[in-house]
Protein backbone atom coordinates (compact mmCIF):
# COMPACT_ATOMS: atom_id res chain seq x y z
CA UNK A 1 0.00 0.00 0.00
CA UNK A 2 1.29 3.44 -0.80
CA UNK A 3 0.06 6.75 0.56
CA UNK A 4 1.38 10.13 -0.43
CA UNK A 5 0.82 13.12 1.80
CA UNK A 6 1.40 16.60 0.45
CA UNK A 7 2.46 18.78 3.35
CA UNK A 8 1.35 22.38 3.15
CA UNK A 9 4.47 23.88 4.68
CA UNK A 10 7.27 24.06 2.14
CA UNK A 11 5.38 21.89 -0.32
CA UNK A 12 7.35 18.75 0.64
CA UNK A 13 5.98 15.64 -0.95
CA UNK A 14 6.29 13.19 1.88
CA UNK A 15 5.55 9.69 0.75
CA UNK A 16 4.88 7.57 3.78
CA UNK A 17 5.11 4.08 2.50
CA UNK A 18 4.55 1.06 4.66
CA UNK A 19 6.37 -1.28 2.32
CA UNK A 20 8.07 0.66 -0.37
CA UNK A 21 9.61 -0.87 -3.42
CA UNK A 22 13.32 -0.13 -3.76
CA UNK A 23 13.13 1.11 -7.32
CA UNK A 24 10.64 2.07 -9.96
CA UNK A 25 7.89 3.82 -8.04
CA UNK A 26 6.70 4.47 -11.55
CA UNK A 27 4.04 7.12 -11.22
CA UNK A 28 6.19 10.23 -10.64
CA UNK A 29 6.27 12.98 -13.29
CA UNK A 30 10.02 13.57 -12.83
CA UNK A 31 12.26 10.51 -13.01
CA UNK A 32 13.85 9.93 -9.61
CA UNK A 33 17.57 9.11 -9.24
CA UNK A 34 17.69 5.38 -9.40
CA UNK A 35 18.74 4.31 -5.89
CA UNK A 36 17.40 5.40 -2.55
CA UNK A 37 19.74 6.59 0.19
CA UNK A 38 18.60 4.67 3.27
CA UNK A 39 19.42 4.59 6.94
CA UNK A 40 17.71 3.47 10.12
CA UNK A 41 16.65 5.97 12.76
CA UNK A 42 16.07 4.66 16.28
CA UNK A 43 12.66 6.34 16.61
CA UNK A 44 9.11 5.17 15.72
CA UNK A 45 7.89 5.95 12.14
CA UNK A 46 5.23 8.47 13.27
CA UNK A 47 7.83 10.53 15.13
CA UNK A 48 10.28 10.35 12.23
CA UNK A 49 7.56 11.49 9.82
CA UNK A 50 6.55 14.36 12.07
CA UNK A 51 10.07 15.63 12.68
CA UNK A 52 11.18 15.16 9.13
CA UNK A 53 8.66 17.62 7.78
CA UNK A 54 10.66 20.35 9.51
CA UNK A 55 14.06 19.03 8.46
CA UNK A 56 13.95 18.05 4.80
CA UNK A 57 12.15 20.93 3.12
CA UNK A 58 13.34 20.42 -0.42
CA UNK A 59 10.39 19.79 -2.70
CA UNK A 60 12.52 17.79 -5.13
CA UNK A 61 13.16 15.09 -2.53
CA UNK A 62 11.07 11.97 -2.29
CA UNK A 63 10.92 10.44 1.16
CA UNK A 64 9.79 7.00 2.33
CA UNK A 65 9.52 5.67 5.85
CA UNK A 66 8.77 2.17 7.03
CA UNK A 67 9.10 0.45 10.40
CA UNK A 68 12.36 -1.46 10.85
CA UNK A 69 11.96 -5.12 11.83
CA UNK A 70 12.37 -6.18 15.44
CA UNK A 71 11.70 -2.86 17.13
CA UNK A 72 14.72 -1.23 15.52
CA UNK A 73 13.03 2.08 14.80
CA UNK A 74 12.34 3.35 11.29
CA UNK A 75 13.95 2.81 7.92
CA UNK A 76 14.18 6.20 6.28
CA UNK A 77 14.82 6.47 2.54
CA UNK A 78 15.29 9.58 0.42
CA UNK A 79 16.07 10.27 -3.21
CA UNK A 80 16.21 13.34 -5.38
CA UNK A 81 13.78 13.76 -8.21
CA UNK A 82 15.52 15.23 -11.24
CA UNK A 83 19.12 15.57 -10.10
CA UNK A 84 18.91 18.16 -7.33
CA UNK A 85 19.89 18.20 -4.57
CA UNK A 86 23.04 16.20 -5.33
CA UNK A 87 23.42 12.77 -3.77
CA UNK A 88 26.26 14.14 -1.62
CA UNK A 89 24.10 16.95 -0.25
CA UNK A 90 21.25 14.55 0.32
CA UNK A 91 23.52 12.03 2.08
CA UNK A 92 24.86 14.74 4.41
CA UNK A 93 21.30 15.98 5.10
CA UNK A 94 20.11 12.44 5.84
CA UNK A 95 22.93 11.84 8.33
CA UNK A 96 22.23 15.17 10.01
CA UNK A 97 18.50 14.46 10.19
CA UNK A 98 19.24 11.14 11.92
CA UNK A 99 21.47 12.87 14.49
CA UNK A 100 18.87 15.56 15.15
CA UNK A 101 16.16 12.96 15.66
CA UNK A 102 18.27 10.64 17.84
CA UNK A 103 20.48 13.04 19.79
CA UNK A 104 18.97 16.49 19.26
CA UNK A 105 22.12 18.03 17.77
CA UNK A 106 24.62 17.53 14.96
CA UNK A 107 28.08 16.62 16.22
CA UNK A 108 30.63 19.24 15.19
CA UNK A 109 34.40 18.89 15.08
CA UNK A 110 35.57 22.25 13.66
CA UNK A 111 37.28 24.38 14.77
CA UNK A 112 39.67 22.08 16.59
CA UNK A 113 43.09 22.61 18.14
CA UNK A 114 45.90 21.65 15.75
CA UNK A 115 49.55 22.45 15.22
CA UNK A 116 51.17 23.65 12.05
CA UNK A 117 49.53 22.03 8.97
CA UNK A 118 52.60 21.59 6.74
CA UNK A 119 51.79 22.15 3.04
CA UNK A 120 52.79 18.76 1.65
CA UNK A 121 51.17 16.86 -1.25
CA UNK A 122 49.99 14.14 1.19
CA UNK A 123 48.62 16.81 3.49
CA UNK A 124 46.75 18.44 0.63
CA UNK A 125 45.24 15.08 -0.34
CA UNK A 126 44.16 14.51 3.27
CA UNK A 127 42.51 17.93 3.41
CA UNK A 128 40.52 17.16 0.27
CA UNK A 129 39.55 13.71 1.60
CA UNK A 130 38.35 15.06 4.95
CA UNK A 131 36.40 17.89 3.33
CA UNK A 132 34.22 15.22 1.68
CA UNK A 133 34.17 12.76 4.56
CA UNK A 134 30.77 13.82 5.88
CA UNK A 135 29.16 13.79 2.43
CA UNK A 136 30.56 10.67 0.76
CA UNK A 137 30.63 7.04 1.82
CA UNK A 138 28.63 3.95 0.99
CA UNK A 139 25.34 5.08 2.56
Amino acid sequence: MRTTTALAAGGLALAVVLAWRWRGAGDDEAAPDERWLVLTVDRPPEEVAAELSGLLTDEAVEVAIRPAPGDRGSELAVRAVGGTPSRDDLRAALREAKQLMEVGEVLRVDPRPAGRRAATPMGKAMDVATSFAGRKGVL
Binding site: D42, A114, G123, A129
Partner: protein, 389 residues
Protein backbone atom coordinates in the same frame (compact mmCIF):
# COMPACT_ATOMS: atom_id res chain seq x y z
CA UNK B 1 47.84 26.02 24.85
CA UNK B 2 50.58 23.42 24.53
CA UNK B 3 49.93 20.15 22.70
CA UNK B 4 51.89 17.18 21.38
CA UNK B 5 51.31 17.00 17.62
CA UNK B 6 52.05 14.40 14.98
CA UNK B 7 54.28 16.07 12.39
CA UNK B 8 55.25 13.18 10.10
CA UNK B 9 56.19 9.49 10.09
CA UNK B 10 57.71 8.75 13.53
CA UNK B 11 57.93 12.49 14.31
CA UNK B 12 56.12 14.44 16.99
CA UNK B 13 56.64 17.88 18.46
CA UNK B 14 55.20 20.04 21.21
CA UNK B 15 53.53 23.05 19.63
CA UNK B 16 51.45 26.00 20.64
CA UNK B 17 47.88 25.41 19.36
CA UNK B 18 44.50 27.17 19.81
CA UNK B 19 42.46 26.22 22.90
CA UNK B 20 39.46 23.95 22.31
CA UNK B 21 35.95 25.45 22.45
CA UNK B 22 32.51 24.15 23.35
CA UNK B 23 30.95 23.34 19.95
CA UNK B 24 27.88 21.34 20.98
CA UNK B 25 25.51 21.71 23.92
CA UNK B 26 26.55 18.28 25.30
CA UNK B 27 30.30 19.19 25.40
CA UNK B 28 32.54 19.86 28.34
CA UNK B 29 36.12 21.16 28.29
CA UNK B 30 38.56 19.22 30.48
CA UNK B 31 41.90 20.44 31.78
CA UNK B 32 44.08 17.35 31.37
CA UNK B 33 45.83 15.99 34.46
CA UNK B 34 47.36 12.89 32.88
CA UNK B 35 47.37 11.48 29.34
CA UNK B 36 49.04 8.23 28.34
CA UNK B 37 50.66 6.82 25.23
CA UNK B 38 49.03 3.65 23.89
CA UNK B 39 50.33 0.85 21.68
CA UNK B 40 47.68 1.74 19.11
CA UNK B 41 49.28 5.23 18.76
CA UNK B 42 52.29 3.52 17.22
CA UNK B 43 50.21 2.67 14.14
CA UNK B 44 49.40 6.37 13.73
CA UNK B 45 52.95 7.44 14.50
CA UNK B 46 54.45 5.03 12.00
CA UNK B 47 52.12 6.14 9.22
CA UNK B 48 50.29 2.78 8.99
CA UNK B 49 47.01 4.66 9.30
CA UNK B 50 47.16 7.10 6.42
CA UNK B 51 44.39 9.41 7.62
CA UNK B 52 46.76 11.48 9.77
CA UNK B 53 47.42 15.12 8.97
CA UNK B 54 50.53 17.00 10.15
CA UNK B 55 49.48 19.08 13.15
CA UNK B 56 46.99 16.52 14.56
CA UNK B 57 47.06 16.38 18.37
CA UNK B 58 47.70 12.82 19.63
CA UNK B 59 46.39 11.01 22.72
CA UNK B 60 43.13 9.21 23.59
CA UNK B 61 43.48 7.92 27.18
CA UNK B 62 43.21 10.66 29.78
CA UNK B 63 41.79 12.10 32.96
CA UNK B 64 41.38 15.69 34.10
CA UNK B 65 39.15 18.37 35.62
CA UNK B 66 36.02 19.84 34.05
CA UNK B 67 36.59 23.57 33.47
CA UNK B 68 33.65 24.48 31.20
CA UNK B 69 30.22 22.91 30.70
CA UNK B 70 27.87 23.02 27.69
CA UNK B 71 24.24 24.06 28.18
CA UNK B 72 22.76 20.54 27.84
CA UNK B 73 25.20 18.79 30.20
CA UNK B 74 23.44 17.42 33.30
CA UNK B 75 25.89 15.06 35.01
CA UNK B 76 29.00 17.23 35.34
CA UNK B 77 29.99 20.51 36.96
CA UNK B 78 33.07 22.68 36.78
CA UNK B 79 35.67 21.17 39.10
CA UNK B 80 34.68 17.51 38.67
CA UNK B 81 37.63 15.15 38.29
CA UNK B 82 36.67 12.88 35.40
CA UNK B 83 38.04 9.98 33.41
CA UNK B 84 36.84 9.86 29.80
CA UNK B 85 36.17 6.93 27.50
CA UNK B 86 38.51 7.08 24.48
CA UNK B 87 35.61 6.28 22.12
CA UNK B 88 33.07 9.01 21.45
CA UNK B 89 29.47 7.80 21.53
CA UNK B 90 26.11 9.59 21.50
CA UNK B 91 24.39 7.33 24.02
CA UNK B 92 21.11 7.49 22.07
CA UNK B 93 21.45 5.47 18.85
CA UNK B 94 20.50 1.80 18.56
CA UNK B 95 24.10 0.65 19.13
CA UNK B 96 24.59 2.84 22.20
CA UNK B 97 21.26 1.66 23.63
CA UNK B 98 22.58 -1.89 23.32
CA UNK B 99 25.80 -0.79 25.10
CA UNK B 100 27.93 -1.29 21.99
CA UNK B 101 29.29 2.23 22.36
CA UNK B 102 32.31 2.03 20.07
CA UNK B 103 29.86 1.17 17.26
CA UNK B 104 27.92 4.42 17.76
CA UNK B 105 26.17 5.66 14.61
CA UNK B 106 26.60 9.34 15.45
CA UNK B 107 30.07 9.72 16.99
CA UNK B 108 32.13 10.06 13.82
CA UNK B 109 31.69 13.20 11.68
CA UNK B 110 33.84 11.67 8.88
CA UNK B 111 31.97 8.41 8.18
CA UNK B 112 33.00 8.19 4.52
CA UNK B 113 36.55 7.03 5.27
CA UNK B 114 35.72 3.98 7.38
CA UNK B 115 32.53 3.20 5.45
CA UNK B 116 34.68 2.85 2.36
CA UNK B 117 37.31 0.81 4.22
CA UNK B 118 35.06 -1.47 6.29
CA UNK B 119 31.51 -1.11 4.93
CA UNK B 120 30.21 0.80 7.96
CA UNK B 121 31.65 3.50 10.21
CA UNK B 122 32.28 2.86 13.92
CA UNK B 123 32.15 5.72 16.45
CA UNK B 124 34.77 8.44 16.85
CA UNK B 125 37.92 8.41 18.97
CA UNK B 126 40.09 11.21 20.37
CA UNK B 127 43.44 11.84 18.70
CA UNK B 128 43.02 8.92 16.36
CA UNK B 129 43.24 10.20 12.78
CA UNK B 130 40.60 11.69 10.52
CA UNK B 131 39.23 8.21 9.84
CA UNK B 132 38.00 8.10 13.44
CA UNK B 133 36.47 11.57 13.31
CA UNK B 134 39.46 13.92 13.36
CA UNK B 135 38.96 14.85 17.03
CA UNK B 136 41.89 16.57 18.73
CA UNK B 137 43.70 14.33 21.21
CA UNK B 138 44.47 14.53 24.92
CA UNK B 139 48.23 15.16 24.91
CA UNK B 140 47.40 18.79 25.53
CA UNK B 141 46.54 21.16 28.34
CA UNK B 142 42.83 21.13 27.45
CA UNK B 143 40.52 18.84 25.49
CA UNK B 144 36.93 19.10 24.29
CA UNK B 145 34.75 16.14 25.33
CA UNK B 146 31.55 15.71 23.24
CA UNK B 147 28.52 13.84 24.70
CA UNK B 148 30.04 14.43 28.16
CA UNK B 149 27.11 12.93 30.08
CA UNK B 150 27.70 9.66 28.24
CA UNK B 151 31.51 9.49 27.99
CA UNK B 152 32.92 11.24 31.08
CA UNK B 153 32.79 9.66 34.56
CA UNK B 154 33.47 11.33 37.90
CA UNK B 155 36.38 9.63 39.67
CA UNK B 156 35.70 8.76 43.34
CA UNK B 157 38.07 10.52 45.76
CA UNK B 158 39.66 7.29 46.93
CA UNK B 159 41.27 6.57 43.54
CA UNK B 160 44.54 8.32 42.67
CA UNK B 161 45.12 9.90 39.24
CA UNK B 162 47.59 7.32 37.97
CA UNK B 163 45.27 4.42 38.76
CA UNK B 164 42.14 6.11 37.38
CA UNK B 165 43.93 7.09 34.14
CA UNK B 166 43.76 3.49 32.94
CA UNK B 167 39.97 3.41 33.33
CA UNK B 168 39.91 5.58 30.18
CA UNK B 169 40.87 2.88 27.69
CA UNK B 170 43.34 0.15 28.72
CA UNK B 171 41.13 -1.40 31.42
CA UNK B 172 37.82 -1.15 29.52
CA UNK B 173 39.53 -2.67 26.47
CA UNK B 174 40.49 -5.67 28.58
CA UNK B 175 36.97 -5.79 30.05
CA UNK B 176 35.40 -5.64 26.58
CA UNK B 177 37.29 -8.75 25.49
CA UNK B 178 36.89 -10.76 28.67
CA UNK B 179 33.19 -9.91 28.98
CA UNK B 180 32.09 -10.34 25.37
CA UNK B 181 34.11 -13.50 24.72
CA UNK B 182 31.90 -15.29 27.22
CA UNK B 183 34.15 -16.84 29.88
CA UNK B 184 32.67 -19.75 31.79
CA UNK B 185 33.72 -20.81 35.29
CA UNK B 186 36.68 -23.15 35.08
CA UNK B 187 37.93 -21.78 31.76
CA UNK B 188 41.63 -21.50 31.06
CA UNK B 189 42.31 -18.15 29.39
CA UNK B 190 45.48 -17.33 27.44
CA UNK B 191 46.34 -13.68 26.76
CA UNK B 192 48.78 -12.62 24.04
CA UNK B 193 50.59 -9.43 25.10
CA UNK B 194 51.57 -8.29 28.62
CA UNK B 195 51.25 -4.56 27.93
CA UNK B 196 48.63 -2.50 29.71
CA UNK B 197 45.73 -3.97 27.69
CA UNK B 198 46.98 -7.56 28.06
CA UNK B 199 47.36 -7.19 31.83
CA UNK B 200 43.91 -5.60 32.14
CA UNK B 201 42.38 -8.33 29.95
CA UNK B 202 43.94 -10.99 32.18
CA UNK B 203 42.55 -9.25 35.26
CA UNK B 204 39.12 -8.89 33.66
CA UNK B 205 39.15 -12.60 32.78
CA UNK B 206 39.54 -13.34 36.50
CA UNK B 207 36.51 -11.16 37.32
CA UNK B 208 34.50 -13.22 34.81
CA UNK B 209 35.38 -16.54 36.44
CA UNK B 210 38.49 -17.77 34.63
CA UNK B 211 40.21 -20.47 36.68
CA UNK B 212 43.68 -19.98 35.22
CA UNK B 213 45.12 -17.10 33.21
CA UNK B 214 48.29 -17.47 31.15
CA UNK B 215 49.96 -14.33 29.75
CA UNK B 216 52.38 -14.49 26.80
CA UNK B 217 55.05 -11.88 25.97
CA UNK B 218 58.82 -11.65 25.54
CA UNK B 219 59.65 -8.71 27.82
CA UNK B 220 60.66 -9.96 31.30
CA UNK B 221 59.56 -6.77 33.09
CA UNK B 222 56.05 -7.02 31.65
CA UNK B 223 55.76 -10.73 32.41
CA UNK B 224 56.90 -9.99 35.97
CA UNK B 225 54.11 -7.38 36.29
CA UNK B 226 51.53 -9.87 35.01
CA UNK B 227 52.65 -12.38 37.65
CA UNK B 228 52.81 -9.87 40.46
CA UNK B 229 49.71 -7.73 39.84
CA UNK B 230 47.38 -10.15 38.08
CA UNK B 231 48.56 -13.44 39.53
CA UNK B 232 48.89 -14.84 36.01
CA UNK B 233 51.12 -17.67 34.85
CA UNK B 234 53.47 -16.47 32.12
CA UNK B 235 55.14 -17.71 28.95
CA UNK B 236 58.13 -16.08 27.21
CA UNK B 237 57.58 -16.65 23.50
CA UNK B 238 61.20 -15.88 22.67
CA UNK B 239 62.25 -18.88 24.79
CA UNK B 240 59.39 -21.35 24.24
CA UNK B 241 57.22 -22.84 21.54
CA UNK B 242 53.94 -21.26 22.66
CA UNK B 243 51.39 -23.75 21.20
CA UNK B 244 53.37 -26.65 22.68
CA UNK B 245 53.77 -24.96 26.05
CA UNK B 246 50.06 -24.13 26.18
CA UNK B 247 49.16 -27.71 25.30
CA UNK B 248 51.32 -28.93 28.15
CA UNK B 249 49.81 -26.42 30.59
CA UNK B 250 46.24 -27.37 29.68
CA UNK B 251 46.31 -31.13 29.78
CA UNK B 252 46.63 -31.38 25.99
CA UNK B 253 43.35 -29.51 25.35
CA UNK B 254 44.52 -25.97 24.63
CA UNK B 255 43.10 -22.81 26.22
CA UNK B 256 39.30 -22.44 26.19
CA UNK B 257 39.60 -18.73 25.51
CA UNK B 258 42.35 -16.78 23.72
CA UNK B 259 42.53 -12.99 24.05
CA UNK B 260 44.80 -11.28 21.55
CA UNK B 261 46.11 -7.94 22.88
CA UNK B 262 49.01 -7.28 20.52
CA UNK B 263 47.76 -5.91 17.21
CA UNK B 264 49.00 -5.32 13.73
CA UNK B 265 52.56 -4.46 14.63
CA UNK B 266 53.01 -7.82 16.32
CA UNK B 267 56.61 -8.72 16.87
CA UNK B 268 57.49 -12.37 16.45
CA UNK B 269 60.48 -14.56 15.91
CA UNK B 270 61.70 -16.06 12.68
CA UNK B 271 60.55 -16.29 9.09
CA UNK B 272 56.93 -15.39 9.62
CA UNK B 273 58.02 -12.02 11.02
CA UNK B 274 60.25 -11.29 8.04
CA UNK B 275 57.46 -12.32 5.66
CA UNK B 276 54.91 -10.06 7.35
CA UNK B 277 57.31 -7.16 7.63
CA UNK B 278 58.33 -7.26 3.98
CA UNK B 279 54.73 -7.51 2.81
CA UNK B 280 53.72 -4.65 5.09
CA UNK B 281 56.52 -2.44 3.83
CA UNK B 282 55.65 -3.23 0.22
CA UNK B 283 52.02 -2.38 1.12
CA UNK B 284 50.89 -5.84 -0.04
CA UNK B 285 49.34 -6.40 3.38
CA UNK B 286 48.66 -3.75 5.97
CA UNK B 287 48.70 -5.76 9.19
CA UNK B 288 51.18 -8.17 10.77
CA UNK B 289 49.39 -10.99 12.50
CA UNK B 290 51.73 -13.35 14.30
CA UNK B 291 49.83 -13.20 17.59
CA UNK B 292 46.35 -13.63 16.12
CA UNK B 293 47.53 -16.61 14.03
CA UNK B 294 49.11 -18.23 17.06
CA UNK B 295 45.99 -17.63 19.17
CA UNK B 296 43.82 -19.35 16.56
CA UNK B 297 46.28 -22.21 16.23
CA UNK B 298 46.59 -22.74 19.99
CA UNK B 299 42.91 -22.46 20.89
CA UNK B 300 41.11 -25.65 21.89
CA UNK B 301 38.47 -27.16 19.60
CA UNK B 302 35.24 -25.24 19.94
CA UNK B 303 37.05 -22.44 21.78
CA UNK B 304 36.73 -18.67 21.55
CA UNK B 305 39.22 -16.09 20.27
CA UNK B 306 38.81 -12.37 20.85
CA UNK B 307 40.87 -9.80 18.92
CA UNK B 308 41.60 -6.72 21.04
CA UNK B 309 44.78 -5.63 19.26
CA UNK B 310 44.17 -2.97 16.63
CA UNK B 311 44.10 -3.96 12.96
CA UNK B 312 43.19 -1.61 10.12
CA UNK B 313 43.21 -3.45 6.85
CA UNK B 314 43.98 -6.86 5.43
CA UNK B 315 45.99 -9.71 6.83
CA UNK B 316 47.61 -12.34 4.67
CA UNK B 317 47.77 -16.06 5.59
CA UNK B 318 44.85 -15.88 7.98
CA UNK B 319 44.26 -19.44 9.28
CA UNK B 320 40.64 -19.76 8.22
CA UNK B 321 40.97 -23.53 7.99
CA UNK B 322 41.67 -23.75 11.72
CA UNK B 323 38.71 -21.49 12.48
CA UNK B 324 36.36 -23.63 10.42
CA UNK B 325 37.60 -27.12 11.22
CA UNK B 326 38.11 -26.53 14.93
CA UNK B 327 34.74 -24.86 15.26
CA UNK B 328 36.12 -21.66 16.73
CA UNK B 329 34.27 -18.46 17.51
CA UNK B 330 36.34 -15.43 16.54
CA UNK B 331 35.26 -11.98 17.65
CA UNK B 332 36.77 -8.55 17.91
CA UNK B 333 35.82 -5.08 19.07
CA UNK B 334 37.06 -1.65 19.89
CA UNK B 335 36.31 -1.01 23.52
CA UNK B 336 32.86 -0.12 24.83
CA UNK B 337 34.27 2.12 27.58
CA UNK B 338 30.95 3.66 28.64
CA UNK B 339 29.66 0.16 29.44
CA UNK B 340 32.55 -0.92 31.69
CA UNK B 341 34.01 2.26 33.25
CA UNK B 342 31.47 2.36 36.16
CA UNK B 343 32.32 -1.24 37.14
CA UNK B 344 36.05 -0.57 36.75
CA UNK B 345 35.94 2.57 38.93
CA UNK B 346 33.98 0.70 41.60
CA UNK B 347 36.57 -2.07 41.57
CA UNK B 348 39.43 0.47 41.59
CA UNK B 349 37.91 2.02 44.70
CA UNK B 350 38.03 -1.39 46.38
CA UNK B 351 41.67 -1.83 45.29
CA UNK B 352 40.81 -4.66 42.89
CA UNK B 353 42.31 -3.11 39.73
CA UNK B 354 46.02 -2.46 40.25
CA UNK B 355 47.02 -0.25 37.32
CA UNK B 356 49.28 2.58 38.56
CA UNK B 357 52.32 0.34 37.96
CA UNK B 358 51.62 0.53 34.21
CA UNK B 359 52.68 4.21 34.27
CA UNK B 360 56.37 3.35 34.37
CA UNK B 361 57.49 6.75 33.01
CA UNK B 362 55.56 9.86 34.03
CA UNK B 363 56.95 13.08 32.52
CA UNK B 364 56.01 16.64 31.59
CA UNK B 365 54.21 17.07 28.25
CA UNK B 366 57.29 18.94 26.96
CA UNK B 367 59.14 15.61 27.02
CA UNK B 368 56.43 13.96 24.89
CA UNK B 369 58.58 13.30 21.81
CA UNK B 370 61.19 11.57 23.97
CA UNK B 371 58.43 9.69 25.80
CA UNK B 372 57.07 8.25 22.55
CA UNK B 373 60.56 7.16 21.50
CA UNK B 374 61.08 5.36 24.81
CA UNK B 375 57.64 3.79 24.62
CA UNK B 376 58.12 2.64 21.04
CA UNK B 377 61.56 1.15 21.73
CA UNK B 378 60.34 -0.22 25.11
CA UNK B 379 63.48 1.38 26.57
CA UNK B 380 64.20 1.15 30.26
CA UNK B 381 61.27 -1.22 30.87
CA UNK B 382 58.78 1.35 29.59
CA UNK B 383 55.23 -0.05 29.68
CA UNK B 384 53.45 3.32 29.30
CA UNK B 385 54.93 6.82 29.00
CA UNK B 386 52.46 9.18 30.69
CA UNK B 387 52.37 12.94 30.16
CA UNK B 388 51.51 15.58 32.73
CA UNK B 389 50.57 18.78 30.81
Amino acid sequence: MKALCWTGVNETSVESVPDPEILNAHDVIVRVRLSTTCGSDLHLLGGYIPAMRAGDVLGHEFLGDVVEVGSAVRKHRVGDRVVVSSFIACGRCAYCRRELYSLCDNGNPNPAITETLWGFAPGGCYGYSHAMGGFAGSHAEYIRVPYADVGAFAVPDGINDTTALFASDAAPTGWTGADLVGIEPGDVVAVWGAGAVGQMAALAARTRGAERVIVIDRLPERLAQAERYVGAETLDYSAENVPQALRELTGGRGPDVCLEAVGMEAHSAGLQHVYDQVKQQLRIQTDRGAAVREAIHSCRKGGRVFVLGVYVGVLDTFPLGAVMNKGLTVRGAQMHGQRYIPEILARMERGEVPSAHLATHVMPLDDGPKGYQMFKAKEDGCVRAVFRP
